[in-house]
């Protein structure tokens, strides 16, 4: 246990282990994404009211779910780096922010595209949509604050504080569709009780959600590796790597 924690603090070890994880996770993710997209777009029945336009759900819902979860990842990594001063948690937090922002943007964009045929408008100031927009601003705030500091150690700590303060908003975003009666429908997938979505549509959706989690992990690890190389550019192991030796 303790030796594992010690290793987790070592950049070369993290670089190596993330490389070997990515070697099988990346192809698996791409496979799951491809399978989910094909299944969702070609082999599920059309919705009886929305026809084929509902199929964007296979991008929209996974992106939104993982965008919210990504904030928790970022804030938890921030808390770990503040409390236990773990450098690698700091790297993870910095790496999670742009990925989360991209996913939030994807969720908003696909939502707008989906809104046009179903609601007749690209954008409404509905509770869920507005709060997702806020999530995007929270992510961008972390990215911008990190860039503003010249001392990168202080930047990491400042971003950790900011992301922890921002977590106050996350339960509000998560529950907004249940608390405020709005145009956006409440969650259809429930862990307890029956889901209000047909199994033939549910299973490809669940596959896509898993694939998006895997995609998030891949992007996070790739980002972390790039950040590690940048931070450790002057150390021996990076130089050795750059010369072509493992």
């Amino acid at each position: 246990m303790w030796s594992f924690l010690h290793k987790l603090g070592s950049p070369p070890w993290l670089y190596a282990i993330s490389g070997s994880i990515l070697r099988w996770l990346l192809p698996l993710t791409l496979l799951a994404l491809a399978a989910g997209v094909v299944w969702g777009l070609l082999f599920t029945p059309p919705d009886f009211r929305q026809g084929n336009s509902y199929r964007i759900i296979y991008i929209h819902v996974p992106a939104a779910v993982v965008a919210l979860a990504g904030y928790y990842v970022m804030a938890t990594a921030g808390a770990i780096s503040l409390i236990w001063r773990m450098k690698m948690a700091d790297v993870a937090m910095k790496a999670a922010a742009p990925v989360g922002a991209a996913l939030t943007f994807a969720a908003l964009f696909t939502g707008a595209v989906w809104g046009k045929p179903t609601w007749g408008t690209y954008w409404v100031w509905d509770a869920r949509i507005t709060s997702m927009l806020l999530l995007l601003f929270l992510y961008l705030g972390v990215v911008v604050l990190y860039e503003a500091y010249e001392n990168k150690e202080a930047a990491g700590k400042a971003c950790a504080v900011l992301s922890l303060v921002g977590t106050v908003n996350i339960p509000i975003i998560y529950k907004s569709v249940d608390w405020w009666y709005s145009l956006h429908q409440p969650a259809s997938i429930k862990f307890t009780g029956d889901s209000t979505i047909d199994p033939s549509m549910l299973y490809p959706l669940l596959l896509m959600i898993c694939a998006f989690y895997a995609l998030f992990t891949c992007c996070l690890l790739l980002n972390m590796r790039a950040e590690l190389l940048q931070r450790e550019a002057r150390t021996g192991w990076v130089r050795k790597l750059a010369r072509g030796g493992e």
């Binding site: 503040l82 507005t130 806020l134 601003f137 929270l138 961008l140 705030g141 911008v144 604050l145 503003a148 500091y149 001392n151 150690e153 202080a154 700590k157 400042a158 504080v161 900011l162 922890l164 303060v165 921002g166 106050v168 908003n169 509000i172």
Partner: protein, 228 residues
């Protein structure tokens, strides 16, 4: 000379901040002037029809108050950061949490409290129904305290940066949104003749939560800024 007790320390700190503010009356008046001017822009931009203005008034007054609070929060720590007295505060034996709370309290007294007290004047200019004015003042009194608490978090994180001014609005505005929603909803409820108390209760809950947690974040932010 022995160190003053914690209560005395905080009161002295609060008094110092207030004296500093009162000695610079122009700076203290700036948010009020800003408030007045921006309120005057809305009838010019939206047209002076009284009914239309009355419809916009709850939101407009709240947004302007929010911006005025945001603009002043950038300066809360800057002077003390530049002359080094902030470092003395961090080194003081008294808990930083309470010292920070004194700074935030002074900011609220100088910006939020004053704005809330003069807001009925601007409410009348925007044709807000008189029945909604008590709700406006109460919601601003509570809400501006949350704005000060959250704004100081942003200020503590950006005080060491040269171009902090723009950045603080990017960091803090998303966090201001819940306050804006419930604050303007309280005024709107009063306009529509609905009960206001639930909204004020939520704002009060935000104030309590903010007083408990925000100074911790500010203290951490100041430590980071001083170290950087």
């Amino acid at each position: 000379m022995s160190a003053p007790s914690t209560t005395r320390f905080c009161l002295r700190l609060l008094r110092r901040q207030l004296v500093l503010a009162v000695r610079r009356p122009a700076e203290m008046g700036n948010p009020l002037l800003f408030f007045a001017m921006v309120v005057a822009l809305f009838p010019l931009g939206l047209g002076p029809a009284p009914e239309a203005l009355a419809g916009f008034a709850p939101g407009v007054l709240w947004i302007v108050a929010l911006l005025a609070s945001l603009l002043t929060s950038d300066n809360v720590f800057r002077g003390d950061f530049d002359d080094g007295s902030l470092e003395q505060l961090l080194l003081a034996p008294q808990p930083l949490y309470l010292g920070v709370l004194a700074y935030i309290g002074a900011h609220w007294l100088v910006s939020g409290l004053l704005l809330s007290l003069v807001s009925p004047l601007f409410a009348l200019m925007l044709n807000l129904p008189a029945a909604a004015i008590p709700a406006l003042v109460c919601s601003l009194l509570l809400g501006s305290a949350v704005l000060s608490l959250v704004g100081c978090i942003g200020a503590s994180l950006t005080v060491g940066l040269r171009r902090g001014g723009m950045l603080i609005s990017l960091l803090v505005l998303p966090l201001y949104v819940p306050v804006l929603i419930f604050g303007s909803a309280a005024v709107q409820a009063a306009v529509d003749g609905l009960p206001v108390a639930p909204y004020l209760a939520i704002l009060g809950a935000m104030v309590s939560l903010g007083i408990a947690l925000a100074p911790l974040a500010v203290a951490a932010g100041l430590r980071i800024s001083i170290d950087a």
